[in-house]
Assembly symmetry: C2
Homo-oligomer: 91 residues x 2
């Protein structure tokens, strides 16, 4: 089973890395297309468990304790079950 975790800076927090990328995109000629850039983290966890509900709860605790700094960051996650993963891959 897999968990996909997305950690993003809260809206109110400045994102200098995003601003740097935005500036670089402007330099490359995308200044007119891009209004704003925010950069976050994408974490893939390979889990051993088989119970999605239990896995979800564990991932929530991992986010709270380690993966996200909840003072300045938001997180969301999704649990991907092997069957669904296989179905996705087959598409």
């Amino acid at each position: 089973m897999k968990a996909k975790v997305y950690v993003t800076l809260r809206k109110s927090v400045l994102d200098p890395q995003g601003k740097a990328v935005q500036h670089a995109l402007e330099t490359l000629g995308f200044g007119r297309s891009v209004k704003d850039v925010r950069i976050g983290k994408y974490i893939e966890l390979e889990l051993t468990g088989t119970d999605p509900a239990k896995a979800g709860e564990e991932v929530r605790v991992m986010c709270e304790k380690l993966l996200a700094n909840t003072v300045i960051e938001d997180y969301r996650y999704e649990i991907v079950e092997p069957a669904r993963e296989a179905a996705k891959a087959a598409r």
Copy 2:
């Protein structure tokens, strides 16, 4: 219109940051639950355009030129149209 870009290390590339997080999770008592951790980037672009197909093509070029290092990284992206975004928010 928004674009969500996911940049991940290729499978064959070592991910020391992921290993560090995995070790930290083990220290926190999640050693039995977590088999592997891979860390990537999650980039949100706020776009000015209104044509999803054109925006998608632009984002692809941005990924190739700047956002991903295609030698060691894979990328995927999705274009989120404002209407769908509003529908999502209303859910």
